[in-house]
């Protein structure tokens, strides 16, 4: 085996440019696979962290009549939870309303949240700090669509629990920046105490956000949704992207492997005398097959080395500086930062190396099988078989 490696190495080095071209193409596929998967993993990680920090916390305890995917359920989807069951929970009350920025009407969700909460990253302390009668905070996309900024006043119209209209001027106490569109677009945040007072929904809550210490217990009238469950749509989307991306690297791998396959076919055709000589010197046919297979597989080893030489600095740089897309995923309703930072796990790198080496070994073996059927005498004479 050692001889096979030694000879394979010598032969590849002797082939010169052809070897480096093959290895180069394969290394490109290798780097792209790692980069793309790293990008998706980075997105996944960032989306998960952002979603937990801004929206999901450590799970939601929802009123049984409230369905986050059904806007019709907002009207009656609230309830009261005893004070003793509210430990480690941040209450949120959702109502529907309209704002009138610059004389335009916008339908929005009014979300009331405990102003002193620490579970979510929403800057709710601004609601306490403001001296305005009804301070609100909004996300930057909401601010952009309503064309308002901090300190601006907006006319808000809502209905109380009985359906009677009310209207008042609210003041934008702060505009926050987030990658999570679900807490930004089409909604304003205010103190839950104020919202309950405005809507006559005393002690009522639509859902609670749990913190790390929350221990789930059976609560009649409420249903608990775990972090994983809340993240399921995002996870599905990311998995779909992974599958879509695999088409790209299958194509790239095919190009690299096709180059190895062609090189192997050509080598076996041109090096018949050499094959005959090996057999004449006492090697079995399968030993020669193994030697050629090792030679082909060694392209992938070279590809790994070349890929590491130029790939590590590039991938490291991208993981530190991130990649800017010039737009946020919020515009598409997904959690996607304007800059994404790829994450390259050991599993991803080792897995990719194994896939590349295994694939290269297989495509090297396929043409090398022909050696096993060669007549050694004819091979020695260099006659085409």
């Amino acid at each position: 085996m050692k001889l096979a490696f030694h000879l394979a190495y010598k032969n590849l080095m002797g082939a010169g440019l052809r070897t480096w071209l093959n290895a180069g193409v394969l290394s490109f596929a290798f780097i792209v696979i790692i980069f793309y998967n790293g990008l998706i993993d980075g997105w996944n990680e960032q989306a998960k962290i952002d979603a937990i920090h801004w929206e999901y916390g450590h799970g939601h305890l929802l009123n049984e009549n409230y369905d986050p995917y059904d806007p019709f359920s907002i009207q009656d989807g609230y309830g009261e939870l005893s004070e003793s069951n509210q430990n480690n929970l941040t209450p949120i009350l959702i109502r529907q309303g309209n704002i009138y920025p610059s004389g335009r009407m916008m339908s929005i969700k009014i979300k009331g949240i405990a102003a002193n909460q620490k579970t979510l990253c929403l800057p709710t302390h601004l609601l306490n700090d403001s001296s305005a009668a009804i301070p609100v905070i909004i996300g930057e996309r909401m601010a952009e669509s309503a064309k308002v900024s901090t300190g601006d006043e907006l006319l808000l119209r809502w209905r109380d629990k009985n359906g009677t209209y009310d209207a008042a001027t609210v003041t934008v106490a702060g505009v926050f920046e987030t990658n999570v569109p679900f807490v930004d677009g089409g909604q304003i945040w205010m103190s839950i105490v104020k919202l309950r007072e405005m809507t006559l929904l005393e002690n009522k809550t639509t859902y609670f956000v749990a913190n790390e210490q929350f221990k789930q217990t059976e609560t009649p009238g409420w249903k608990f949704e775990t972090q994983e469950y809340l993240m399921r749509e995002q996870t599905k989307l990311i998995n779909a992207k992974k599958v879509g991306g695999s088409i790209l690297y299958v194509v790239l791998m095919m190009l690299g492997l096709l180059a190895i396959f062609d090189t192997q076919v050509l080598s076996i055709f041109r090096r018949q005398k050499e094959i005959g000589t090996y057999i004449a010197l006492g090697m079995t046919r399968w030993q020669v097959v193994r030697m050629f297979t090792v030679e082909g597989a060694m392209y992938s080893v070279f590809a790994t080395i070349i890929g590491a030489i130029y790939g590590i600095p590039i991938l490291w740089y991208l993981s530190v500086k991130g990649i800017g897309f010039g737009m946020s995923g919020s515009e598409f309703g997904i959690i996607l930062a304007e800059r994404m930072y790829p994450i390259y796990g050991i599993g991803l790198i080792v897995g990719t190396i194994i896939i590349v080496i295994l694939s290269a070994t297989i495509v090297s073996f396929l043409p090398a099988r022909k050696i096993a059927r060669m007549d050694p005498v004819e091979a020695l004479k260099g006659k085409v078989q």
Partner: protein, 244 residues
């Protein structure tokens, strides 16, 4: 159009007010405007920021709880039908050949881009059941002398906490109505003009409905043709009529 005017007028009846005048005024308004059934052809003119568009429809109504409208123009809206039975509202769209029932959040949507929402059409109760009324003054509108009636909600679930209605002192026709939020913020204003004598009734043939929180000129309703107390086949007020 007919429905809205009827809604506005028919709701102005028997009121528990300290001033006997207010009750009498509202009763007379009711007598003048109300009919058992009516068929109205009208234009709804929706003013946008830069342009305006006109939606023509024919509406059938029976009492306060049943109404059916079919949109005739423009081509984009043609064939769209709307049926209101009690508290339920269905819309049929010919482009999708589907009937959907509007409820909850959807009722807050604008009616064809106008200043009117679907829920504005859904109020069935009489104003007198929901409001205490009193005459608070007099004012002249378009050279017509009017009484100003102040209506304050006496039930918890009135859509608007208070209203002001200006009633023509001779013709017993409302010429203006303003709707207020609990905070006292003026939300909507309706102006009724071009009052004509039709089948022995004084009837306004032009109405402007304006969301006061929005910019713009609001939405006009113009009565093109109207018939009172005509027989309307029962099938008109059924879901089957939506797809006919």
């Amino acid at each position: 159009m007919k429905y809205l005017i009827t809604l506005l007028f028919t709701l102005l009846t028997i009121t528990q007010i300290n001033a006997q005048d207010a009750t009498a005024i509202l009763n007379k308004v009711d007598d003048n405007i109300n009919s058992n059934t009516s068929i109205t052809k009208s234009d709804m003119i929706i003013y946008g920021r830069r342009n305006q568009r006109t939606v023509t429809s024919v509406g059938y109504s029976e009492g306060k709880n049943k109404s059916f409208s079919e949109y005739l123009a423009p081509a984009r809206e043609r064939g769209t039908k709307m049926l209101k039975l009690e508290d339920n509202l269905w819309i049929y769209s010919p482009s999708t050949d589907r009937t959907i029932q509007l409820s909850g959040h959807m009722l807050k949507q604008s009616l064809m881009g106008s200043d009117l929402s679907y829920e504005d059409m859904m109020e069935n109760r009489k104003l007198t059941e929901m409001y205490d009324a009193k005459v608070i003054g007099e004012e002249t509108i378009d050279e017509r002398k009017t009484w100003i009636l102040q209506l304050n909600a006496k039930v918890d679930d009135a859509t608007y906490d208070s209203r002001k209605v200006w009633i023509d002192t001779e013709r017993y026709v409302p010429l203006r109505e303003e709707l207020f939020a609990k905070s006292g913020q003026l939300l909507k204003r309706t102006e009724l003009k071009d009052v004509k004598r039709i089948d022995g009734r004084w009837y306004p043939t032009k109405m402007n409905y304006k969301d006061m929180l929005k910019d713009g000129k609001g939405t006009d309703f113009v009565v093109l043709e109207i018939e009172f107390d005509v027989e309307i086949p029962a099938y008109i007020f059924s879901k089957g009529a939506l797809k006919r």
